[in-house]
């Protein structure tokens, strides 16, 4: 009779210990997010040593890219002798981010897309950085449209616009254009031209002329890009109703279906995501695809792209209300970070992401570091601060630019006049997830029923929107 009682006692002790550990965790996170730092804690004390874990390069980046980052860390540590920075390879993926976040395997400073910030703030999963950011001289100069993504309902800034502010562009392989008898200086400007050029590339070179992302929510993301470019929207203006069955989305899917099945100019692959389509493009296996304007940097760092082959132009805009889907990357600090870590984090965010846009010295130093390791400088981005500040920055780095800007003029000459459209505001990633199978079905089934597929996806998206609000 005694042994079960003892077992019960043991179990109880175990449970209590676990409970204690859990409460320990939760009180930690409360300390992190709830406490308002006093004026003294915004900066680090002289004798306080902090080790800061931050995100670094994409997994599999080149030695040169690693060297450039290591140099940057060295410079930072020379300026901030009491902060030790440890970088971790990182690629944001919708399908792994939540696991990393829940499992506590994210570094203290990590990167998130614009669209995710609001929910992470509401869930108390990232730190309030308002007081720390306010100490920076440029705190009031952010592009307000970008900054609002990272503000909580109390108006405080949690996530900070940091890099890769993009409009989606059409990336094309100049060598394949030439091989197919097309003029690489005259990339397509309408969807019909995209189609005929893709067919020419496929017919003449045997390489798929056009490719589309379809996996890990990128299928939905790019279908939204195509929809915006034809004047459609995925959600109503108030973000409460899914509108996936709109004509522009149908036209976009029909376009893909025609390229895949009528022209046979897309190959057979229906499982590209952001990273793998970059890889395929850099390897010369794709004629054209759509993605953020800044992916050239990633293709240099991780995919050894040959600069001669790269071309970037505007995504064709057709129909009323058409626009370029825009987004970007924010830096966020874990909710579990201590005040010291937050103070260190803002220094790193300033040094690594933002300072170069506002200080000539920082811009030049950064450009020199990158150039020394053959890393890209000058890949087109959209302004994080004002347009004026952006132009100044471009002037500072001009002598160091080493990316083929003249192969990107089709994009850079027009993007600043094009209407930018934000991503769907409610349950963004769920809407994308609902659309992934639709894109895959169109690319893998010749008899795919587009209307029916979109209706099913719309039901799923509406479910997600309802449960999010």
């Amino acid at each position: 009779m005694k042994s079960p009682r003892i077992t019960a006692a043991v179990t109880l002790v175990g449970a209590l210990a676990l409970g204690g550990a859990l409460t320990g965790c939760s009180s930690d996170s409360n300390d992190g997010s709830g406490d308002q730092p006093t004026a003294t804690s915004i900066t680090l004390g002289k004798d306080t040593k902090v080790t800061l874990n931050v995100v670094g390069l994409l997994p599999g980046s080149t030695k040169e890219a690693q060297a450039a980052l290591a140099d940057e860390v060295k410079e930072f540590q020379a300026k901030n002798p009491n902060i030790t920075v440890t970088t971790h390879d990182y690629e944001w993926k919708a399908t792994t981010f939540a696991a990393d976040l829940a499992g506590g395997t994210l570094p203290t400073v990590f990167e998130i897309p614009f669209t995710d910030a609001k929910t992470l703030i509401a869930n108390e999963q990232i730190s309030d950085m308002q007081q720390y950011l306010a100490a920076m001289p440029y705190a009031g100069d952010f592009n307000k449209n970008l900054l609002q993504y990272g503000q909580g309902s109390n108006g405080d800034v949690y996530a900070i616009p940091a890099k890769s502010v993009y409009g989606v562009g059409l990336h094309y392989n100049r060598e394949l254009f030439t091989a197919a008898g097309l003029d690489p200086d005259k990339p397509p400007t309408t969807w019909d031209e995209v189609r005929t050029d893709a067919k020419a590339i496929s017919d003449k070179t045997g390489t798929p002329g056009f490719a589309q992302m379809a996996q890990s929510n990128t299928g939905g993301w790019q279908l939204t890009v195509d929809t915006y470019a034809r004047g459609g929207r995925m959600e109503s203006a108030d973000g409460k109703t899914a509108t996936l069955t709109n004509d522009a989305t149908k036209a976009s899917l029909q376009f893909l279906h025609d390229l895949r099945w009528t022209d046979n100019s897309m190959g057979t692959s229906a499982n590209y995501d952001w990273g793998t389509i970059n890889q395929a493009f850099a390897a010369g296996k794709v004629g054209m695809y759509t993605s953020g304007q800044d992916v050239y940097t990633a293709m240099v760092q991780a995919n050894h792209i040959d600069p001669k082959t790269y071309g970037l132009t505007m995504i064709p805009l057709e129909g009323d209300g058409s626009g370029v889907l825009g987004g970007g990357t924010m830096a966020a600090v874990s909710a579990k970070a201590s005040n010291d870590e937050k103070a260190a984090a803002i220094q790193w965010i300033n040094f690594h992401y933002l300072n170069k846009y506002t200080s000539e010295d920082a811009a030049v130093t950064n450009a020199k570091t990158q150039v020394a390791s053959n890393q890209p400088v000058g890949t087109p981005e959209l302004p994080i601060f004002s347009q004026e500040q952006y132009d100044k920055y471009q002037g500072w780095i001009k002598p160091y630019v080493n990316v083929p800007l003249d192969q990107m003029t089709g994009f850079t000459s027009k993007i600043f006049d094009a209407p930018l459209v934000n991503e769907p505001q409610t349950a963004t990633q769920d809407v994308y997830a609902a659309l992934d199978p639709v894109v895959q079905a169109v690319l893998t089934k010749q008899d795919a029923d587009i209307d029916k597929l979109l209706e099913d996806a719309n039901t799923k998206a509406q479910r997600a929107i309802d449960s999010a609000s």
Partner: protein, 341 residues
């Protein structure tokens, strides 16, 4: 047959299996006598005699195991059952939502697809994956020379880490004409096939890799069981004029029955919980053709960057576990009758 199955039933159901075996034969006549004496013995027990009989050291020895199981198995199980009735993001305090999570999961338009795909995978894995190791084992056991080499070759895929082998096969399955499999098949005038990019071929492609990766382990189990088949049975069958196939059918198979029953149910449980292959190969695509129940659970919990619908994930997990538990019970009830007949 009726006598053997009646014995366990007549013993007291509350007793431990060991006591049942001992008390069983006496069950018809004076079943109550040993019971009464054991109760009397238990009443005489006290903490002192329990310690004196080594109860404490037994507990100390069991403690690490109890703790490890408790922390890493039982506690998570309890937590997931609790969580399936909650809405939580693991940061803010959880709220109780009753059956909402179950309702949400059961009305998910993807659920029927996932269940269908899971059964399809299990079925394919049975059709392809169940006989192949058996045939391999029977053939290998009849080989006389270089036995070790064949065992190594059969077991080698099991040693390759699963993620590595999936990524390797993903490369083989390249759908373009220059893909490895397409190049090989092209030499005999077949293809090119889309493999993972084709809704109809994706699932069989997954099963093929899964069979390749797992067959070695099952082959070893069968080989060990085959050693236990007495050689005289084959000699007797040969004297009776049986050929190879009749020997396998009438001698090997009945002798392996016990092992086959176990590997069969283990395979069902394993394949119904398939996750690695669809997750790494296709992410459930193309067009949900390889979306399985476990992948859905993963997607609920982690698939959306923000979703983290742990309630729905655990609700579906609990339902899957219940289903498998009931399936196993029914299966063992059925097979325990068969294997004794």
């Amino acid at each position: 047959m009726s006598a053997t199955s009646a014995v366990p039933r007549s013993t007291a159901p509350g007793d431990s299996p060991g006591a049942g075996l001992v008390g069983g034969p006496a069950g018809d006549g004076g079943g109550s006598v040993p019971r009464r004496s054991s109760v009397a013995r238990r009443r005489g027990r006290n903490p002192v005699t329990w310690v004196r009989h080594g109860g404490l050291s037994a507990l100390v020895f069991a403690l690490p195991m109890l703790l490890i199981f408790g922390v890493f198995s039982w506690w998570p199980i309890v937590r997931s059952v609790v969580m399936s009735f909650q809405k939580t993001n693991l940061v803010k305090p959880a709220t109780w939502v009753g059956w909402d999570n179950f309702q949400y999961v059961l009305t998910d338009p993807d659920l029927p697809t996932a269940i269908r795909n899971t059964f399809y995978f299990a079925l394919l894995a049975l059709v392809i994956g169940f006989p192949i190791p058996l045939v391999c084992a029977v053939l290998m056991s009849s080989v006389r020379r270089m036995k070790g080499l064949y065992s190594v070759l059969a077991y080698l895929p099991v040693v390759v880490p699963p993620v590595v082998s999936v990524l390797l096969w993903k490369f083989f399955y390249d759908g373009s004409a220059t893909g490895v499999f397409n190049t090989i098949l092209g030499k005999v005038g077949l293809g090119p096939y889309a493999w993972l990019s084709s809704p109809s071929m994706a699932m069989p492609s997954l099963v093929l890799e899964a069979t390749w990766a797992a067959a070695g382990g099952t082959v070893i189990i069968y080989l060990a069981a085959l050693i236990g088949v007495p050689g005289e049975l084959y000699d007797a069958a040969e004297v009776d004029g049986a050929g190879l196939w009749r020997k396998i059918w009438h001698v090997t198979m009945p002798q392996l029955r016990g092992v086959l029953f176990i590997t069969f149910i283990l395979q069902i449980i394993g394949t119904v919980q398939v996750f690695l292959e669809p997750y790494l190969f296709t992410g459930g695509g193309p067009a949900n053709a390889t979306l399985t129940v476990l992948l859905m659970i993963y997607n609920y919990a982690f698939g959306r960057s923000l979703g983290g619908d742990y309630g729905a994930a655990t609700a579906l997990s609990v339902m899957l576990a219940l289903f498998l538990a009931i399936l196993s019970l029914v299966y063992f009830k059925l097979t325990s009758a068969w294997s004794k007949s």
